[in-house]
């Protein structure tokens, strides 16, 4: 540790102080973007978490330790996520007039969902660090490879908002997974045209060309539809881990 400190003083490197139980596998993966320090669990607590997860799991419940290898790197591990924000019932602090209006609105929306008379739906989707507004029949192109076969169907689950002519539903930040289905199909997997990256310095014979080709995948949206009505509790068997 003293040798590292000397180099830091001379060369102004960024040296991070490592905790005692830091594993070597994660140290290697940190170069390529591992989890932040707050999410790295020390070894003593990690072992106890595994035991409690195996012990307390119900027969139908998914044990993340079995599904994904390293529990510390799984972003869906509920032990590592911050506390869930549970919003209070929206109907609590309403006056009788407001409650009447809200019930009318919900009933009209639920009848439209039951009869499927809402028309064309749009959805706001989060994919590849981008948000897109998408309808049925849309084609869009996404950078980089997705490990999906051509013709394989996908379900896009991170839905931020859904809307039609008469109503829109805004998620805070995401809508429930079991409320809406957005089905897509992988159409095409190509490389882009060669983007020329040219580096040049004045008054020096330095010219460097790079012909950069990026992988692209093209998706088409097959359909957007509702699975259930509003304020219907979903089946507990279908719920894995929802963000309310």
């Amino acid at each position: 540790m003293s040798a590292l400190a000397l180099t830091a003083r001379r060369v102004c490197l960024s040296v991070s102080v490592l905790p005692r139980n830091f594993s070597t596998s994660l140290a290697a993966s940190r170069r390529f973007g591992g989890p932040p320090g707050s999410q790295i669990v020390p070894g003593d607590i990690y072992a106890s978490l595994q035991e409690t997860a195996a012990r307390d799991a119900a027969p139908g419940e998914i044990n993340f330790a079995e599904v994904v290898g390293d529990q510390r790197r799984n972003p869906f591990n509920p032990e590592l996520l911050p506390e869930e924000v549970r919003y209070d019932d929206a109907m609590k602090g309403l006056t009788p007039e407001e409650s009447k209006i809200s019930q009318d609105i919900l009933s009209t929306v639920n009848t439209q969902i039951a009869e499927e008379s809402y028309g064309r739906l749009f959805a706001v989707i989060h994919l590849g660090f981008q948000q897109r507004r998408v309808t049925q029949g849309d084609i869009f192109q996404q950078k980089f490879t997705y490990h999906v076969a051509l013709g394989q169907k996908i379900r896009l689950e991170k839905v931020l908002a859904v809307g039609s002519t008469d109503f829109t539903l805004l998620g805070r930040p995401l809508l429930d997974r079991n409320l809406v289905t957005v089905e897509a199909v992988c159409i095409e997997k190509t490389m882009s045209y060669p983007h020329i990256i040219f580096r040049h310095m004045k008054q020096i014979p330095y010219r460097h060309y790079r012909f950069n080709r990026i992988a692209e995948t093209v998706f088409r949206i097959n359909r957007i539809s509702f699975n259930r009505k509003l304020n219907d509790l979903p089946d507990p068997a279908q719920v894995v881990h929802t963000i309310h």
Binding site: V85, Y87, D88, D89, A90, M91, K92, G93, L94, E98, I101, S102, V124, Q131, R133, L160, A161, G163, T168, L170, G171, R172, P173, I196, I197, F198, H200, R207
Partner: protein, 159 residues
Amino acid sequence: MRLSLVSLIRAPRNAKVPSKEKLFDRLPIFRITSNFFGRRRNCWSLAMPAAQKGLVRSAWGKKVKGMYSRMLRITRLEAALHPYGQMSYESFAENLAKVNVLLNKRILADFAMLEPRTFKAIVSLAQKKQDMDGETSQKELLTRPYPSDLVLGSNYLKF
């Protein structure tokens, strides 16, 4: 591409025409300058620096494109907020983030253009949250054409 073997064949006998080997090496640059103006299109000593400058400027533009598009969207949202009172874009974005509505600037600008009803609902949401926190001034309240009572209830906007 306007430079071709036909134009070389039709050139006069004493014309200074490059050899085939030279042309092969210079073709990639002439393909970049095929739509430029004047002699920079076909004359090597003028085409080479013109192509280099064009490539350097296109790289600079790609870097700066994100900045410009961000500025454009913010100006569009500022303009879209005018008919709903004197609300500033900063308070609009701040209150939306407090309410956990994490929609993009791109999506919000598209809503303002193409879905004005949802944009009106989003703006009234942010105004309601601003009222609950007590950060609206009397001056701003007077400029609002629609009341913030369109948003029902305050129990779910506390945090």
